[in-house]
Symmetry: C2
Subunit: 189 residues, 2 copies
DNA sequence: AATTCTAACTAACAACTGTTAGTTTTGTTC
DNA sequence: GAACAAAACTAACAGTTGTTAGTTAGAATT
């Protein structure tokens, strides 16, 4: 358990506040109050509100990008890669549960390079995901549905995993992974 | 094609603006500019910003509630009911694509009775959805997975259908419904 | 003991927020 | 054309926003 720098503390607290009401609904004074300081003091540690948002979102986006690369280079079937992606999402969600609300709902409030960097990573991630599905269909591992329907259905479930806070505690991580893979890939009937 | 009242116009335009950046990021002046008027003039038609948000969200919530009741009273198998719910979501999404962003992302900015009315409808809806799944498991129509996993997986896909704007145009509604039912219930393998 | 650094503070800024009051324009009805 | 209601307007309000400037207290380094 490493000790957080003051800057990291601010970013972490900000993520938990953003989670509940979103980036725009939280003021620097709200954040400062939660940190037991005055708003102006925050600027000894960060350059502005935008830097906080970028730090929260881009760190997670980078982890997804790296995780995807790792899955892509693994020499295995499309289904195994899909399984890997499901596990990737679950792992990241467990490690960054607060940040994921911002990644999903506040990314559009990123500005300039922060925004374009995020969109680029996100688009690239989706492309890779789609290609894995397409390949699975070509090799007859996956039923010949429209790839967009499959992509959308799996990805939207994985992206909203962070909302599943309370129930998660009751389920073991590995059980959750197994169930998730089974439901998303094998269906429910 | 009925002609909209000025109030309905305002609410509709507000929904499209809220969709892109969220409730808090859109000011009454932004909304007025999009309507080609001054912010103060909006108040000739609506009581305040909160009324707009409530109108957008509660109308859709009510449609979901009524749709659920209609499905619940239909005398059929659990799987058929699930199919009905999938179709319900697709129909509502097509008819209220702008409003659904607010329903998903801005409901927490509702206040007072608006908020409690929404939360009540939403919780009730989820309970009914869960019960249909549970019943399907009892009757062996559905694999004995943890009901929460199934509920979460299907519901999060349906709830984010509104994000699927561009691709949707290419697919016929009935094809989409069939594919969605097939993927969500039958899986992809 | 003197100096530098860190991290807090107070005070203030210009811009923006939702909203109200009062007024003027517009189009319809007698 | 007078009277009326609907719907726009201008001007202003009190509060909030992110941020900057300058200051100060305590700790670390010289």
């Amino acid at each position: 358990m490493k000790t957080l720098s003051r800057k990291e503390e601010i970013i972490k607290v900000a993520a938990t506040l953003f989670r509940k009401k979103g980036y725009n609904a939280i003021s620097m004074r709200d954040l400062a109050a939660e940190m037991d300081m005055k708003a102006a003091s925050l600027y000894n540690h960060i350059s502005g509100k935008q830097e906080i948002l970028a730090a929260i979102i881009l760190e997670v986006a980078l982890e997804f990008t790296e995780g995807m690369e790792s899955v892509m280079t693994q020499n295995s079937s499309s289904l195994k890669k899909l399984e890997g992606l499901i596990e990737l999402h679950i792992d990241i969600t467990l490690n960054h549960s607060e940040a994921l609300a911002a990644v999903n709902n506040d990314w559009m409030h990123l500005e300039g390079e922060n925004l374009s960097a995020f969109v680029k990573m996100r688009d690239g991630y989706e492309d890779n995901f789609r290609n894995i599905i397409k390949q699975g269909i070509e090799t007859n591992e996956i039923k010949p549905h429209h790839p967009e329907v499959i992509l959308f259905s799996i990805l939207s479930t994985l992206r909203t995993l962070y909302l599943w806070q309370e129930k998660r505690g009751k389920l073991d991580v590995n059980v959750l992974k197994k169930d998730m893979v089974s439901v998303l890939i094998g269906g429910i009937v």
